[in-house]
């Protein structure tokens, strides 16, 4: 066989990955329910079930601020939360490479238990496989999550409206930078911790404050805030402008990004969300966010515009404007 092959860049969370998903994976999905490409799907039926799944191949498995187990729970809990669901049940599948230290597995499972307890979800079933040495890399995990919708209509990437406020719950880029530093490849003296955290409770508080006015929620994981906002702008057919000076900052992230030539807006997060909310509830939602442990540094960073559709621009601290582009391919090695 010498046809096209899958490249790492197609897993990077950027445009290349979107293109591959749209071309190769989506056609197999259910025509009605499976083509929305949101973080989780709202299933039909009386109970309004929300379902999601995600896989975790992070390296290293233990990093400052978390580990594979915590990430596997938080990532899936957050995907449910972004659709306005209260996460309830979780499954866990593990693919472990022969020769992996049992202690690593124990550490991961302790974190899974702790994160489930914090997020208020029950781990209810799972799967365990061991593969030959070199067929994997330590531990790969997959979690699926089920939740119940807190409100109807739920927040959706398609519901952003011109005039809406754009909120964020803290400084961006901590997870990506912490991971880069943890790999020890950069000889960077950085003390940044991953922001990995379950956000369902925060979202609960936001929905209580803003109700249906909370139009869209997105967790800016791979591809960062740049990718997340572009996805919402694209799905809703709106434009956006964000303001550099209103962003909460992390000096450690800024410093590392400066040295490495990275744009913090493109760096991954695991405990952040961007919220698109109606202007009349923006203040109440922001207040609720700031009152929560995972939203103390929340800020209003911009507004949704009529158009041009799909365009996100940034007002720089100098008063100039530029496009905020999603990263196209491989930005950093595996980080989630």
């Amino acid at each position: 066989m010498s046809g096209p092959q899958v490249t790492l860049a197609q897993g990077g969370g950027g445009l290349q990955m979107q293109e591959l998903i749209a071309r190769e994976l989506v056609p197999a999905c259910d025509a009605e329910l499976g083509r929305g490409l949101e973080d989780a799907v709202v299933l039909p039926g009386a109970e309004r079930l929300v379902l999601t799944t995600d896989s975790y191949v992070i390296r290293p498995a233990i990093f400052p601020g978390g580990d594979l187990g915590k990430l596997a729970v938080c990532g899936t809990v957050n995907d449910l939360a972004m659709r306005g669901a209260r996460p309830v049940y979780l499954t866990l599948g593990l693919i472990v490479e022969e020769g992996t230290e049992l202690e690593l597995l124990r550490t991961v499972m302790r974190s899974v238990a702790a994160a489930c307890a914090e997020a208020g979800v029950a781990l209810v079933t799972g799967d365990f496989k061991v593969v030959e040495r070199d067929s994997g890399d330590g531990i790969f995990a997959n979690t699926a999550g089920v939740g119940f919708l807190r409100q109807d209509p739920p927040p959706s990437l398609r519901r952003a409206r011109p005039g809406d406020a754009i909120l964020i719950n803290g400084p961006v880029g901590q997870h990506g930078v912490a991971l880069l530093a943890a790999r020890g490849e950069l000889q960077l003296q950085v003390t940044v911790q991953s922001d990995c955290a379950p956000l369902a409770d925060l979202v609960g508080a936001m929905l209580k404050a803003g109700g249906e006015g909370v139009h869209a929620l997105h967790d800016p994981t791979r591809g960062g805030v740049a990718a997340a906002l572009n996805e919402i702008a694209e799905a809703s057919g709106v434009g956006m402008e964000i303001r550099e000076r209103d962003f909460p900052r992390d000096a450690g992230v800024d410093g590392a990004c400066d040295i490495l030539g990275l744009d913090p807006l493109q760096v991954a997060n695991e405990g952040k969300l961007v919220a698109i909310v109606a202007p009349e509830v923006a203040e109440a939602v922001l207040k609720a966010m700031r009152g929560h442990q995972y939203g103390a540094e929340s800020a209003l960073i911009g507004e949704v515009l009529e158009g041009p559709a799909g365009r996100v621009s940034l007002r720089t601290a100098l008063g100039t404007r530029r496009i905020v582009d999603p990263p196209s391919g491989e930005l950093l090695p595996r980080i989630c």
Binding site: R311, S313, L318, I323, E330, P333
Partner: protein, 362 residues
């Protein structure tokens, strides 16, 4: 924040001064990928008067690497015993047929590193592999590669070598002026390169071509101060080397790094994408370090491979064509499907234009 307000005021004041000085059309060129990206990221062109044009020159090291040298890297990567260690920017640059990323997906050992030292560590850990580091970059990167080669020699590492594609910036600046293809009224000289070189090489350019060179840093006010100094020189009919990055760049440069370069490398003619072969414009390993020279070690033959027929990277690198004026820009050539390196590399001027300026944001 008051600090940001002060910065904005300073920048606006500089922009006003530039507009006052640049009464007639002036065309300046930066020759540094970091400048190109800073200008885009900060939206600085929006602050310049219409009389002042800032061109991007051959300042992106990945971009000026000709297809022939990329093909060498590909040729090495397909050898079963070789692990290619490279900065991430090189992964997606297309060679004649494929890119390193394509080869990696097909099973080739291609590893992204963040420093040449890391490549050395891989070589030490994997004595069964031939580890080749792709030495791409200007005077800024070359000293660390030279130091790495020295370390390899000291440790007598038998399985480490460097594919040396390093180039020197001042000869390219001189070649652009000598070529006369594009009007250049002054160079915004690269801060990082100058840290190593000092002011000497620019003086030779100023003397020969009577074109001002102003060394500038990378913050908004650094770049604008550099442009202001250039505009003032042009207004006054002067051509001088001016150091506006004095907090980092010393007149004599960095003698330690210069000695290291002198010890490990000799200066040779080199092929540049878009510029052809320029005399005394590349580094090659000296004979005493030949065993660390991948070209020698693997018997690589010179390649005359041409560029993609639709790709205008060469013209872009010479400043003859601006990225937005390239017919392939945002059509046949995007970051997703790049035709040439200027669209791939994070320092490439097409990538910068695509990311920050592709639609006039007003």
């Amino acid at each position: 924040m008051p600090e940001e307000v002060a910065l904005r005021k300073q920048v606006e004041a500089l922009a006003r001064q530039i507009a006052k000085v640049a009464k007639r059309p002036m065309q300046f060129m930066e020759v540094c990928g970091t400048h190109a990206h800073a200008v885009g990221r900060l939206g600085l062109r929006q602050l310049l008067p219409e009389t002042l044009t800032l061109l991007s020159g051959p300042g992106c090291p990945v971009c000026v690497t000709p297809t022939g040298e990329i093909d060498w890297a590909l040729e090495l990567a397909v050898r079963p015993e070789v692990t290619v260690a490279t900065f991430g920017d090189m992964i997606r640059v297309p060679g004649s047929l494929q890119s390193l990323g394509d080869l990696r997906a097909a099973g080739a050992q291609v590893q992204v590193v963040y420093s040449p030292t890391q490549a050395l560590e891989i070589a030490a850990e994997r004595p069964d592999r031939e580890v080749v580091f792709l030495g791409v970059g200007f005077e800024t990167t070359a000293p660390t590669v030279a130091a790495t080669i020295q370390t390899a020699a000291r440790q007598e590492l038998p399985n480490f070598s460097v594919l040396c594609c390093h180039k020197l910036i001042p000869p390219a600046m001189a070649a652009l002026l000598a070529g006369g293809e594009v009007q250049i009224d002054g160079f915004l000289a690269p801060g990082h390169v100058s840290t190593i070189l000092g002011l000497g090489p620019y003086q030779a350019i100023v003397d020969e071509f009577h074109v001002p060179c102003v060394i500038a840093g990378f913050e908004a006010h650094d770049i604008l101060q550099g442009l202001l100094a250039l505009a003032e020189q042009v207004r006054d009919g002067r051509a001088e080397v001016e150091n506006r990055y004095g907090r980092t760049v010393r007149t004599e440069g960095n003698p330690v790094a210069q000695a290291l370069l002198e010890e490990v490398f000799e200066i040779v003619p080199a092929r540049w994408r878009g510029l052809g072969v320029l005399p005394e414009s590349g580094y090659a390993l000296r004979e005493k370090y030949a065993q660390f020279d991948a070209v020698w070690r693997f018997g690589l033959q010179p390649s005359e491979a041409g560029e993609h027929p639709l790709c205008h990277c060469g013209e872009v690198l010479r400043g003859v064509r601006r990225p937005l004026d390239c017919p392939a820009f945002d059509a046949a050539c995007t970051p997703l499907h790049p035709l040439g390196p200027c669209m791939v590399s994070s320092e490439g001027s097409c990538a910068a234009a695509y990311r920050y300026d592709r639609v006039e944001v007003k």
